[in-house]
């Protein structure tokens, strides 16, 4: 330090450095807190889940075909709930995956910029409508409509749930797929046009294959959303744990069970209270596995163009 710098300036510099350091620490703490949330989720689920498996064997949980935790003769087989969740998600996928992909192709390859700017926000609204409203729509509109054509449809049925969940996840599939399609460089399209390909051929044989990793990732993510969906399936599909493939029957999903059990009186320490956490853990692991798979597909099979 040269002699022209007085002690006052040095002190000001030090306090400035201290302040900067303090701010950086606070900001870091906020970012790091997000990891604590994950730790909290796992810890909260794990504690009571371990308690649950002290009373119920893992074998029964995974192989028994009956889920009757509230009856006198109790059964804790998670299969009916798992099949309910995945069947409804599969039904939603049948609707949302093709529609979402075609929508993405339309927005990316066919629609002009103005049409895209109008359509995209409208589709985003589909994802923003509260799910309880989808439940109402399924119960008061879709189910009566189904019963006109298929009178044997039950009031609570998996098909109506699948349909509304499918509509709900269209934007998830379409917006992520569209991002992937638009990331394909124009030189590829121009090359194909130069060889005499039509727009259909360019879209389906060049652009879609080039964006396939992103499209598949969007499919998996959409299905994961469907598995985690709660209110629409609770309202539309009902509360009957039912190991069946018939979409016209009532089914209970993992999420619907959690809602049903927590609406009733479930004091801490009871086995019913613990089932919440065991089923929640199963749901958490299932969706986490799907989300990680989606990221892995994206990273592993990405076609890089530059």
């Amino acid at each position: 330090m040269s002699s022209t710098v007085g002690p006052g300036v040095l002190a000001a510099k030090r306090s400035r450095r201290l302040k900067e350091g303090a701010i950086a620490s606070v900001l870091f703490a906020c970012a790091a807190a997000s990891t604590l949330v994950t730790v909290g989720v796992v810890a909260a689920l794990l504690g009571e889940t371990i308690g649950f498996f002290r009373e119920v064997s893992l074998v029964e949980f995974l192989t028994s075909t009956r889920w009757e935790p509230m009856f006198r003769d109790r059964h804790f087989g998670v299969l009916p709930l798992l099949s309910g969740s995945f069947l409804i998600a599969a039904g939603a996928g049948v609707i949302a995956l093709p529609l979402g992909l075609l929508t993405a192709i339309f927005l990316s390859e066919y629609a002009g910029p103005r049409l895209r700017r109008t359509l995209k926000p409208v589709l985003e609204v589909l994802a923003g409508v509260p799910t309880v409203i989808y439940g109402y729509f399924a119960l008061t509109f879709i189910t009566p409509l189904l019963r006109v054509f298929l009178p044997e449809t039950e009031i609570f049925n998996a098909a109506a749930a699948s349909i509304v969940v499918g509509v709900m996840i269209i934007p998830t599939v379409s917006s992520l797929s569209e991002d992937a399609l638009r990331a394909v460089p124009d030189s590829l399209r121009e090359g194909a046009y130069g060889l005499g390909a039509t727009k259909l051929e360019v879209s389906t044989r060049v652009v879609v294959p080039a964006a396939l990793s992103g499209i598949i990732a969007s499919f998996i993510l959409g299905l994961s959303r469907a598995v985690g969906e709660t209110m629409a399936v609770t309202i539309a599909a009902g509360n009957l744990p039912n190991l069946t493939l018939n979409p016209l029957e009532s089914m209970q999903t993992m999420t619907a069970y959690i809602v049903q059990a927590s609406l009733g009186d479930t004091p801490q320490g009871t086995i019913v209270y613990r089932t919440l956490f065991a089923v929640g853990m199963t749901l958490f692991l299932a969706t986490l596995a799907m989300n990680i798979l989606s990221q892995w597909v994206l990273a592993k099979f990405r076609e890089e163009y530059r």
């Binding site: 970012a31 990891t35 339309f106």
Partner: protein, 296 residues
């Protein structure tokens, strides 16, 4: 396409080329129709709700509490609860999320810790909302003894929306051109001065929009609040953050669950109120953003 013979310009289209062109047109229509399915579903849903609910929508609906008698029931407690929850969730989640976003974009060194935090935030955004409810039940309601209060609900919803706000804020901060930062650093500004005087004001409209969109998702949430003990029948408006509460989506759910048709109508009217609340929030987002943009 090896069988294809070149067609000289000006001659008639071959049957093969006509088929290709026809398929092309059909595919374009198919894609357009698929896009319209989503739009049409939205329209049908809104019209269905409006037809069912509009006859029941009046001032009395807003001023009455829940009741066993559908003709006397209203959304007063639920609307108040939703607004309480919205404000409290915003107050809790906004500062923490923006701070986290600033750290990740402006401060974080490239390294495994940053990568872990970033991956973790992306994964948290994919966790089903009901799992946050289970966390809220175990952590806030039981372990911290906050009971079935608005505070428990707001903390739970804050955890739920934080990943979304963080990612939206990061995007807004990333969109600020680096030249702005370099100019400020060149004038001798400290990192915090660069962030607080230059980056944040420019990123603010984007951050605000992302936050309000995330909060409107929170307002529509039902499942996690059922877990932390919000109930469908509350006959008072909350007076403090430790009070019991209900929210609009939950009130709607409890009406849907009843078999009588009058309650279905009530549910549809409640849905209209909820949609109006969401519409107001989104309009506010647009107005605030335009103001912030104009002030620049």
């Amino acid at each position: 396409m090896s069988e294809r013979t070149p067609v000289p310009i000006g001659t008639a289209e071959s049957a093969f080329d006509r088929r290709r062109r026809l398929f092309g047109v059909m595919f374009a229509w198919l894609c357009g129709a698929a896009t319209l399915v989503g739009v049409a579903a939205l329209v049908v849903l809104l019209v269905d709700v409006l037809i069912d609910g509009l006859p029941r929508l009046d001032v009395q609906l807003l001023t009455s509490f829940a009741s066993r008698f559908p003709e006397r029931a209203g959304v007063r407690a639920a609307l108040a609860g939703s607004i309480w929850l919205l404000v409290l969730t915003a107050v809790i989640s906004f500062p923490v999320s923006v701070a986290a976003a600033i750290y990740l974009e402006e401060y974080a060194p490239k390294g495994w810790i940053t990568k872990v935090i970033q991956t973790n935030i992306a994964n948290l955004a994919g966790v089903p909302s009901i799992v946050y409810g289970i966390l809220g039940l175990a952590l806030f309601v039981r372990a911290m003894g906050l009971d079935r209060s608005i505070l428990s609900g707001a903390l739970t919803l804050s955890l739920l929306v934080m990943p979304v706000i963080i990612m939206a804020s990061q995007e807004a901060i990333r969109a600020v051109p680096p030249t702005i930062r370099e100019a400020a650093y060149g004038l001798g500004a400290t990192r915090w001065q660069v962030v607080s005087y230059q980056v944040l004001p420019m990123a603010f409209p984007g951050i605000l929009t992302g936050t309000i969109l995330a909060l409107s998702r929170a307002v529509g949430e039902t499942a996690p609040l059922i877990l932390v003990g919000a109930v469908g029948f509350v006959a008072f408006t909350p007076r403090g953050i430790m009070d019991q509460f209900t929210v609009l989506p939950l009130q709607i759910y409890s009406w849907i669950s009843r078999p009588q048709d009058e309650f279905r109508e009530l549910a549809a009217a409640g849905i209209i109120v909820l949609l109006l609340l969401l519409l107001t929030m989104n309009a506010a987002a647009i107005i605030l953003r335009n103001r912030a943009l104009a002030r620049r």
